[in-house]
């Protein structure tokens, strides 16, 4: 498709724009740290974002494989889910991709009347957003589960044994 090709050609520009918009959801100081520090280990947040965003971008224009997408999204969403954002902001990076593509290729879309292809792309991206939402909810539920099980874990051996002992007596 014409649009896909054009997006691919502008990959670097779109990705950089996307990453910038994304990290701008953080305070200025940490945004720059997340965005510019290349370290895989001393900047796991920025690194995970960068790597997975690129993989998603490529996958979106290739097979759009559900499982792979889930894996890439998981990396990002898992981090966003613990950083104290409300759900809309946490998942706002998906619309930001749409926004970035529009800003880079929008003129071409208007000029070449590629609206149908654009719409198609939006559907693909929307499905990803829903997927991201699933993952987000799973993360939040896991957090709550871990939280509620924490005390249980800490003492359950004790309770188990006390109950067993009582039963024996």
């Amino acid at each position: 498709m014409v649009l896909d090709k054009s997006i691919k050609q502008n990959k670097v520009q779109i990705l950089n724009l996307w990453l910038k918009k994304f990290t701008d959801t953080y305070p200025d100081e940490s945004a720059r740290f997340f965005k510019d520090n290349p370290g895989q280990f001393n900047n796991p947040v920025g690194y995970t974002f960068r790597v997975n965003m690129e993989k998603m971008f490529d996958e979106l224009l290739q097979d759009n494989d559900h499982e792979k997408m889930r894996q890439y999204l998981d990396g990002i969403v898992r981090i966003r889910a613990v950083q104290g954002f409300d759900p809309a902001t946490a998942l706002g990076f998906m619309p930001l991709l749409r926004e970035s593509i529009w800003e880079v290729c929008g003129r071409e879309i208007e000029a070449d009347k590629l609206h149908e292809q654009w719409l198609d792309l939006i559907y693909r991206m929307d499905r990803l957003t829903y997927l991201a939402f699933d993952i987000y909810m799973a993360c939040r539920e896991q957090l709550w589960k871990q939280r509620s099980e924490m005390f249980h874990h800490r003492t359950h051996k004790l309770l188990e044994r006390a109950i067993a002992k009582n039963a024996a007596e």
Partner: protein, 357 residues
């Protein structure tokens, strides 16, 4: 904004010197009185701060250990890190040497990072280490180079230093390498504060002010040497300097205003020094996480203000739990029968409950 305030302050200081020493001709004030006061404040202030720190006790031996402990099992002998985790006083001297003269901890920032792809990237902190090192050493060189104004005859070492510093023979008089390097380093340190968001966020006027002040000093010094309109005759300057150190101050004729600006800024730096973060010059030697050996299990470290603290004794513990202890077969100090009388007289569950700080 913080940077601008600091800049305005330094500009104001320059104007004061220009008006005072230049327009109003108060050479004695700016050439003699203020420098004397400044040196006095610097020395007294510095000593007072260091003595204050020195007098504050070090209650615990808390070195930050950055390597394998020196004294552990013999089989780890070849892994001992004598420098980053010293176990003896000598080791501490080594650690402090690398810390003070080579900024070892800052250097530790340098980290090769793994990446996808062939290239290796270093974190920017390496630059901080390099430029900090350049700044501090060129500052030292410039300071020592100035000794030729305060000595007669000038000792060989200062003359040699002067030659080496100007060995490239660019411009006339020859450009000092140190002047260029210090400006570059100061520029880096300043731009870093202004441009890196994290560092800008943590910066205070107290961080910008000394930077601008030192930049002002360097530039005024260089103007006097290289730029026609500001050039200053060195003979009267030396006369003034010698007068100051021999305690027979005179203010010779023919000293340009630029010199007074230079001298005034240096005086301000000296006065500001003991009250500011610049005291890290003294503090770096006194940091308990660096200047103590890691031998706290081997040798007793005395806390001068260690005071007794009441704790929940075994006896109280047994008194409270004797029945269940006996029942579950745990040994007790006193048999169970005695408990009845004991308990009646000792109802407070915890003798510490009344203790307040």
């Amino acid at each position: 904004m913080k940077a601008i305030y600091s800049l305005i302050l330094v500009v104001a200081l320059i104007l004061i010197a220009m008006i005072g020493a230049g327009a109003m001709g108060m050479g004695a004030l700016f050439g003699v009185i203020i420098p004397y006061v400044a040196v006095l404040v610097f020395i007294v202030g510095f000593v007072v701060r260091v003595v204050q720190w020195g007098k504050t006790p070090v209650p615990f031996r808390i070195p930050t250990t950055c390597g394998q402990a020196r004294k552990s099992l013999p089989m780890f002998k070849d892994k001992w890190n004598r420098l980053d985790n010293p176990g003896t006083k000598l080791g501490v001297v080594g650690r402090m040497f690398f810390e003070v003269f080579l900024f070892r901890s800052l250097f530790r920032n340098t980290k090769v990072e793994l990446h996808q792809g062939p290239h290796i990237a270093y974190s920017s902190s390496k630059w901080l280490w390099i430029f900090a090192l350049i700044f501090h050493y060129t500052f030292l060189v410039i300071f020592l180079r100035h000794m030729r104004f305060f000595t007669e005859p000038v000792p060989e070492i200062f003359v040699t230093m002067d030659h080496m510093d100007s060995m490239f023979q660019i411009l006339s008089p020859a450009l000092y390498l140190s002047s260029v390097l210090i400006l570059v380093a100061l520029g880096y340190l300043l731009l870093r504060r202004l441009l890196v968001p994290t560092v800008r966020y943590i910066s205070q006027p107290a961080d910008y002010f000394p930077l601008f002040l030192i930049i002002g000093i360097v530039i005024s010094g260089m103007l006097m040497r290289y730029i026609g309109a500001f050039k200053t005759d060195l003979m009267p300057v030396k006369e003034l300097a010698m007068g100051l150190v021999q305690f027979s101050p005179t203010v010779p004729e023919g000293i340009g205003t630029t010199f007074f600006v230079h001298l005034f800024l240096v005086s301000v730096l000296l006065i500001y020094f003991p009250f500011s973060k610049l005291m890290h010059l003294g503090g770096v030697f006194l940091s308990p996480t660096r200047n103590l050996p890691n031998d706290s299990r081997e040798k007793h470290h005395e806390n001068p203000w260690n005071y007794p603290v009441k704790f929940h004794s075994y006896q109280s513990y047994e008194d409270e739990n004797r029945a269940v202890m006996v029942e579950s077969g745990l040994p007790v100090e006193k048999p169970l029968e005695e408990k009845a009388e004991e308990a009646s007289g000792d109802e407070t569950p915890d003798e510490n409950a009344e203790k307040k700080e």
